[in-house]
């Protein structure tokens, strides 16, 4: 009975939603075909596409939007991940879990050796992705996730452990670095998160002002944070 009600309710909601989307000028495609709302390019990111390279010096417009135009949102997002890591640590702090026999068994030789060989390569690839976020697709979050997958490899393949205290310190310091960069922007130019370093030439590694610096901080933070989360789930929760 509950299934029937919920399915009919959902079908009705979906039909209403699709109906409303199809009858109005919706989305960038809709705006392109019907002429859009405004001519000055405010809507649908046309302005960002046109001006990002001049205003921020980043070749990747998405990076410019994420870090510069909507950098405050990114700060909030980094905070959400921090909250989740803290919450997970606090909730698992009192749980007593025994490792069962399967978890205590060492991995086979091929997996063990392969993981030890691959771990530095994974970290290198992650560092490349997160440092080049402003010129290629990628960035802090993507690079941080790759770094964290290296940590998962250590836990699962090599049955190793990671230094939880140093990961937590890295996480806090990189988060603090992000906020401090924002404050420097406030002190120098009067706007929080202002891009105060020189723009440089596009497509170079050291271009786009403060964007690669912020991306490195975000990448370190996300990598160490996700690594800490994996560590907590594997059973090691520090104070």
């Amino acid at each position: 009975m509950r299934k029937l009600i919920s399915v009919t309710l959902l079908l009705v909601i979906v039909m209403i939603a699709v109906f409303s989307v199809s009858h109005a000028m919706f989305g960038a495609e809709g705006a392109r075909r019907t002429g859009g709302l405004r001519e000055d390019g405010v809507n649908f990111g046309r302005r960002y596409n046109n001006r990002a390279l001049d205003e921020t010096g980043a070749a990747n417009v998405v990076a410019a939007v994420v870090v510069s135009y909507r950098g405050f949102d990114t700060l909030g997002e980094v905070t959400v991940l921090f909250v989740a890591a803290l919450g997970l640590g606090a909730l698992l702090y009192g749980a007593r879990r025994e490792k069962n026999a399967k978890e205590r068994e060492p991995a086979s030789l091929i997996v063990f050796t392969g993981c030890r060989f691959l771990f530095p390569l994974v970290l290198l690839f992650g560092a490349y992705v997160l440092a080049h976020g402003h010129v290629t697709p990628g960035g802090g979050f993507q690079g941080g996730a790759i770094v964290a997958s290296g940590f998962v490899l250590v836990y699962l393949g090599c049955r190793g452990t990671l230094p939880a205290g140093r990961l937590a310190a890295a996480e806090s310091l990189s988060g603090l670095a992000f906020v401090v960069i924002g404050f420097i922007g406030l002190a120098v130019g009067g706007s929080f998160l202002l891009n105060f370093l020189p723009r440089g030439t596009p497509l170079a590694l050291f271009s786009a002002g403060v964007i690669p610096v912020i991306y490195v901080a975000i990448g370190l933070k996300v990598g160490s944070e996700l690594g800490g989360i994996i560590g907590n789930l594997a059973g090691e929760v520090s104070e």
């Binding site: 209403i16 939603a17 409303s20 989307v21 009858h23 109005a24 000028m25 919706f26 960038a28 809709g30 705006a31 859009g36 709302l37 405010v42 809507n43 990111g45 302005r47 960002y48 510069s68 135009y69 909507r70 950098g71 405050f72 949102d73 909030g76 997002e77 905070t79 959400v80 921090f82 909250v83 989740a84 803290l86 919450g87 997970l88 640590g89 606090a90 909730l91 702090y93 009192g94 749980a95 937590a168 310190a169 996480e171 806090s172 310091l173 988060g175 603090l176 906020v179 404050f183 922007g185 406030l186 130019g189 009067g190 706007s191 929080f192 998160l193 202002l194 891009n195 929760v237 104070e239």
Partner: protein, 494 residues
């Protein structure tokens, strides 16, 4: 002195807490209090200067609507001051109350909850509102389950599932709005809202109001509230009842009044508020568990505030804002004073609180002050708020509104009944057998708990006796919420 410091400085302090925890065990407990003291000082300093014209802060150096901007108007700074005050006092309380578990993480989560709430009331961008709303929600999910007991984890799971669906609905609404208008600034959307057919706009409004309404505990979305507020540690219950649901309600109100300007939807809000009020007060009447009773009472009071917002006249919105402040202070006081009573007796039953006045006189007095203020008795802060709402409803002139406000007053009568029963039990009923021997004579709560409770009680008395202190600020705040054209003009300069 930019309003962005209200968000950035506590955020930086929260990032420092794990580093401090590596150095010293006891130091992290004082960081939230320091952060909230800073916020209180800055918001009180900014309050006179925003009364006439809001401060629009741009980030990253680009003008709105191309960058994220904060709109610090009288409403935002007033609510930020309230958050800072209640947050500071509960932080002082928590230094002594929270002893088990991962204490540094508790304080970091607590400070981030307050940062999320401050961000919600100060921002002018819709997606930024969603991100700060998520910071608030996720830290409250973790804090509700902080103690790790059976009831706490179960309540946290239910709260998380309902809250996650609510946040998803908000995101769908934001997706609709972006697809229709191509911009995310609330002022920009508000200016363009009439160029699209009303039915399409209505769907996105339904999604947004439902999504934010889960956190604001509007009937029928508030099934999580009794469990979560009663199973959390008492300091967290105080913050959830006092601040978090107000922040959710602010999000609903800002979306309804400023972005949509929806006059046709208001009677529906009125009825929902009334239903929430009645359900909350009736359920509270039959409770035996003191914290569950206080949680249902919060639900009822939020219903009254939503009812007042639904009337949508300047006087009723002023009354609603006054009620927000008074309920925040009173409910925090109630939870704080009850916290140590429960800890000493080990039980949350009301019958175990009988005769507490002899054993914990100051806590009982604070509880009585909070209870009387909530009911709306004269020398306390609750009275001007309820009086303003009733007068605004009667000023409308329509017989329908008179009937509705009479029903609302019925809820207040029920509330008075159960609170008087509790206070009578505290003072006049004898203690249960063996209770005195267990807890001992004269074991009052420690100083770290009494100081915040007494400050809150003093604030309730002072503002109750001269409400002009608050009404001077509540007036401009109400017009900040209601006057859509002025908001757009201040942000976009058009």
């Amino acid at each position: 002195m930019s309003p962005i410091l209200l968000i950035a400085v506590p955020l930086g302090l929260a990032f420092i807490i794990p580093l401090l925890a590596l150095a010293s065990r006891k130091l992290p407990a004082y960081v939230p209090a320091v952060g909230m003291l800073f916020n209180l000082v800055v918001s009180l300093y900014l309050l006179p200067s925003v009364l006439s014209k809001p401060i629009v802060v741009r980030t990253a150096g680009f003008a709105p609507p191309f960058s994220i901007h904060l709109v610090a108007g009288p409403l935002g700074i007033l609510l930020a001051a309230l958050i800072a005050l209640v947050g500071l006092l509960v932080a002082i309380y928590a230094t002594g109350y929270i002893r088990e578990g991962s204490v540094p993480r508790y304080h970091a989560l607590y400070l981030l909850l307050l940062v999320g709430a401050t961000g919600i009331v100060l921002t002018g961008d819709l997606f930024n509102l969603f991100v700060f709303f998520e910071i608030l929600c996720i830290s409250s999910y973790a804090l509700v389950g902080y103690r790790g007991d059976k009831a706490g984890i179960e309540s946290a799971v239910k709260y998380l599932i309902q809250g996650a669906i609510g946040s998803s609905l908000v995101l769908v609404g934001i997706g609709f709005l972006y697809g229709l208008f191509g911009t995310l600034s609330m002022a920009d959307i508000a200016g363009n809202i009439h160029s699209v057919r009303p039915i399409t706009v209505f769907i996105s409004m339904a999604f947004l109001v439902t999504g934010f309404g889960v956190e604001a505990a509007i009937f029928p979305l508030n099934a999580w509230l009794p469990d979560a507020h009663s199973s959390a540690p008492s300091s967290i219950s105080a913050i959830l009842s006092g601040i978090a649901i107000k922040a959710g309600l602010y999000a609903v109100a800002r979306v309804l009044f400023t972005v949509y300007g929806a006059e046709t939807f208001l009677p529906f809000i009125l009825v929902l508020g009334l239903l929430t009020l009645l359900v909350g007060e009736m359920s509270a009447f039959s409770q035996n568990n003191i914290k569950r009773l206080l949680a249902y009472s919060s639900m009822g009071q939020m219903g009254l505030i939503v009812f007042a917002l639904g009337l949508a006249s300047a006087a009723s919105v002023e009354g609603a804002l006054f009620l927000v402040v008074s309920h925040g202070l009173a409910k925090a006081l109630l939870f704080l004073s009850v916290g140590y009573m429960i800890y000493r007796t080990g039980s949350m039953e009301i019958s175990s609180l009988h005769g507490m006045a002899k054993r914990m006189p100051v806590s009982s007095l604070c509880f009585a002050i909070g209870a009387f203020s909530l009911v709306g008795l004269p020398p306390f802060i609750g009275f001007p708020g309820k009086f303003m709402v009733v007068r605004a409803a009667l000023e409308k002139g329509d017989a329908l509104y008179t009937v509705l406000v009479a029903i609302a007053l019925l809820g207040t009568v029920v509330e008075g009944a159960y609170f008087f029963r509790i206070v009578q039990g505290l003072y006049f009923k004898p203690a249960p057998e063996g209770a005195v021997a267990e807890t001992g004579e004269g074991r009052e709560a420690p100083f770290s708990a009494l100081l915040p409770a007494c400050v809150l009680a003093a604030a309730i008395l002072v503002v109750g006796v001269c409400p002009q202190i608050l009404t001077d600020y509540v007036g401009p705040a109400a017009s900040d919420l209601l006057d859509k054209a002025a908001y757009i003009r201040h942000v976009l300069g058009v």
